[in-house]
Symmetry: C2
Amino acid sequence: MARTREFDLDAAVNAAMDVFRSKGYEGTSMRDLSEATGLGSGSIYAAFGSKDGLYLAVLDLYRQRYAAPMVDLLRSGRDPRAVIREVFIGTVDDITGDGRHLACLIVGASMERAHQDVRVAERLRSTTQSLESALYDLLAEAQLRGRISTDRSATDLAGFLVTSLQGLRVMGAINPDREALTRYAEVALTCLD
Amino acid sequence: MARTREFDLDAAVNAAMDVFRSKGYEGTSMRDLSEATGLGSGSIYAAFGSKDGLYLAVLDLYRQRYAAPMVDLLRSGRDPRAVIREVFIGTVDDITGDGRHLACLIVGASMERAHQDVRVAERLRSTTQSLESALYDLLAEAQLRGRISTDRSATDLAGFLVTSLQGLRVMGAINPDREALTRYAEVALTCLD
DNA sequence: GCGGTACTTTGTCGATCGTTCCAGATAGCG
DNA sequence: CGCTATCTGGAACGATCGACAAAGTACCGC
């Protein structure tokens, strides 16, 4: 072996994520990424191959950092209504949390990149799918125990809840009003009754 | 006076809209716009001033062509549940209609442009606001007549419904499954019960 | 401590970006 | 019918794009 990598790869991906979230994919230049990560463009190309490669790495980190914990929470075995509510509140917090107005990478990627890059599309489908199936398992179990309505199939309810989460992201981008978003989330949750 | 404008301004904006919807704002070049509209860049700059100017014109046309008819339908005085269902079905149709996978300009603009251009942000807020208030009027009236649930305020219900519509757009971009989207829409509508 | 190797930096590549300008074409007015 | 104001398409602008190659640097095994 030889010289070791000097920078923290994860930290670089993390910095790149903020840029992509605030400027979008096309709106972000390699120069932006260089400044944000503190790396020369050569290092970026050595580590990720291309701008696309870095974007995919960002997408994977986003999934690992935000989507995976949500799935874990849903599969924690706690009260179904409570954990679902927690997921919704957490999402609203994430949207309105800091003043930086960082868009959701998933929604942004869905709009801007999904139709251009099949690898992006795959990751998006996989991410929403894992969230949906975690919700499905939780809801199906809860229906068996009579804890939530059986008017609708667990499949439909799970898909609807994910749809609502995506909708909250969009609404939050247009008007980041925490109270309003929370009330919309509450309405969505009444579909479980 | 002298020579009159030869091309149809509305047709040009319409063609530009398709490009922006499929490539996003940053992903669209003036070259793309020239080819789509059939105009030289000189004519575009003479008519719209800049790429931003054309984008704003596209946004206005989108609002006039898609949002306004929705509002009209909601205000047509017909049965509340029926017209709301029609709006949702129409949205699902629009998402899955043609195979061109044209993203929703509103959602795309929310993600990509709202934080960069205040004029875009204003138009987005105004568009969702007019949809929301049309829904509000319809729902408030329906609540008075006991046609829908009064568990939630008409304000919250209206906001929730718009949120659901946005969510459907995102889900449709990830996976344009007409039947699934329709079922998610149905679940959203049960919140009126 | 030395050679080799992997990583970082820097400078630059052709292409393309949004924009501007100009020469030619064209339609209305006297 | 000629004049001229306006429109048109395309050439050309400087800037910046993503990408890359070469040179410099720090670390490892020996």
